[in-house]
């Protein structure tokens, strides 16, 4: 290699050395910025890592308008009517945020406070442990497993007509423990839901009270529901329910206990182009013979303490219709029957029919128009002065309900 060639090589080396070095430094700067950004994103991810504890809040709000006309007709006498118009009352207004707090996939806490226009109460507050496939163990304050209405259908955004069926509120919610689960049975399915709770409480006039009581006896109450879904598409569910337990102790009661039994039905199927939805529930309540106290003069009296309540409801929605407006409409009808013990102080035969037209804005937002008419015949004790009085009621509801 000549001197000239060597000189050229050195110059080229120096040139490339000078040109490459700044480029390399620039690359290194980019890498460094990128790495810093990745570090920052990783930190953000780490900050937001959910862990096993997950809290979510959902809720139900229901409000509306109710126009009522009540006519009271004494035996053989002319009736007297009164009208009211209200934008919300205890039966039609509800604001219930619900907290669902999950820890992993084994534990779930459910808490639903509720403001109904008059009171701030709690619908349920319980913890569930998903112990094994088909076995959930729960404890706390929960809706008792009896029938389908109270546990599944009572929320305003689910119910097809505005009012709740009269007389279906018992046994309500209570403190206790329970187990439940759903299991396959070939192409069928069955479920169980059983609880052990404090129980209902017998009032001096013979009525039973559920919520808002302090346990007053050593006996506990067993209640449960078994259901069978005989078809593989789950379109039909048939359930039977029972409850037994002490309801009071000590004088003047004599081993007072209550027995309830019931049956329910749920059929939902699209018979194209209509989605047909039929639901029903029947329940009967018996309290063994006890001495009671008349609220009017505190004298003793007794009666055959048996009550029954039932409803049957059907609704139709043209889900396969061509026009969106028509597809969102649903026509509903419900018949309610409620009979309390004759010759008790709250004896009555109550019938109600509800006819509703609903419009669904979304799967969980509904505007309901319901017209309800009812007739109640007083069957109370002769000394009440009300026996034979007939009360007719006509109600118009416009109710909006949504779940978020």
């Amino acid at each position: 290699m000549s001197n000239n060639q060597l000189t050229v090589l050195v110059v080229i080396t120096v040139f490339f050395g000078l040109t490459i070095k700044p480029a390399s430094a620039q690359q290194s700067g980019v890498d460094s910025a990128l790495l810093q950004r990745i570090d920052a994103l990783e930190q953000q991810m780490a900050d937001q890592k959910p862990g096993e504890s997950h809290l979510m809040i959902v809720g139900v709000a229901t409000f509306g308008f109710n126009a009522n006309k009540t006519t009271v007709i004494p035996p053989g006498g002319p009736g007297q009517s009164a009208k009211t118009v209200t934008l919300g009352d205890a039966d039609r207004y509800e604001f219930s945020p619900m907290l669902l707090w999950r820890h992993g996939t084994k534990w779930l806490m459910e808490f639903e406070p509720s403001f109904d226009g008059n009171n701030l109460g709690v619908n349920w507050a319980n913890i569930s442990y998903f112990a094994a496939p088909g076995l959930i163990v729960r404890a706390g304050y929960f809706v008792l497993p009896f029938g389908i209405y109270n546990k599944r259908l009572a929320a305003g955004w689910i119910d097809k007509v505005a009012p709740d069926p009269v007389g279906i509120d018992l046994p309500g919610s209570d403190f206790g423990v329970g187990i439940s689960g759903g299991l396959p049975l070939g192409s069928m399915k069955w479920s169980y839901d059983i609880s052990l709770t404090n129980g209902l409480q017998l009032q001096p006039d013979g009525e039973l009270q559920g919520a808002g009581i302090v346990d007053n006896n050593l006996n506990k109450t067993v209640s449960g529901r078994l259901s069978l879904l005989p078809f593989s598409n789950s379109c039909l569910e048939i359930g039977v329910s029972a409850l037994y337990g002490g309801v009071a102790s000590g004088l003047p009661y004599n081993n007072a206990n209550a027995t309830m039994y019931g049956a329910d039905l749920n059929f939902v199927k699209t018979l194209s182009p209509i989605l047909v939805n039929i639901k029903g529930q029947f329940s009967r309540l018996l309290v063994n013979g006890q001495p009671y106290v008349k609220p009017t003069d505190s004298s003793a009296y007794t009666f055959d303490n048996r009550s029954s309540s039932s409803f049957i409801q059907c609704s139709f929605r043209p889900t396969a219709g061509q026009r969106a407006f028509v597809k969102n409409l649903e026509l509903a009808f419900r018949y309610v029957n409620f009979e309390t013990p004759p010759n008790s102080f709250w004896g009555q035969n109550y019938r109600e029919e509800d006819l509703g037209l609903d419009y669904w804005f979304s799967w969980r937002t509904v505007l309901k128009f319901t017209y309800a008419w009812s007739r109640s015949t007083n069957t109370s004790d002769n000394t009440s002065g009300l026996k034979g009085v007939v009360t007719n009621m006509n109600n118009i509801y416009l109710q909006f309900s949504l779940q978020l």
Binding site: S187, V268, S362
Partner: protein, 92 residues
């Protein structure tokens, strides 16, 4: 019947029912027809038993897991139904 025995009756009945439920539980099996159902099918069949079928967009993936558990306590879904329905709703 002695009062103490009578008082224990609900507990005895409760124990019997639990034993019965447990024995049935371990003997059940689902058919191939049911086993082959997709999450979408189960979503369409089971949710509407009580309410309208929910839109997958309504909740986040994580929230659907919580709601699946809540619905299982309400409607006694089987574990497989819950898992498939939640997996379907979490796809979107």
């Amino acid at each position: 019947m002695k009062p103490i025995l009578k008082r224990k009756m609900p507990l005895v009945a409760f124990a019997i029912v639990i034993a019965f439920a447990t024995s049935i539980m371990v003997s059940c099996a689902e058919s191939q027809k049911v086993k082959a159902k997709t999450g979408a099918q189960l979503w369409a069949e089971n949710c509407q038993r009580c309410h309208n079928t929910p839109s997958p967009a309504s909740f986040s993936h994580d929230q659907w897991t919580t709601i699946g558990m809540h619905m299982q306590t309400r409607a006694q879904l089987t574990d497989e139904e819950r898992d498939k329905i939640v997996a379907f709703l979490r796809q979107f």
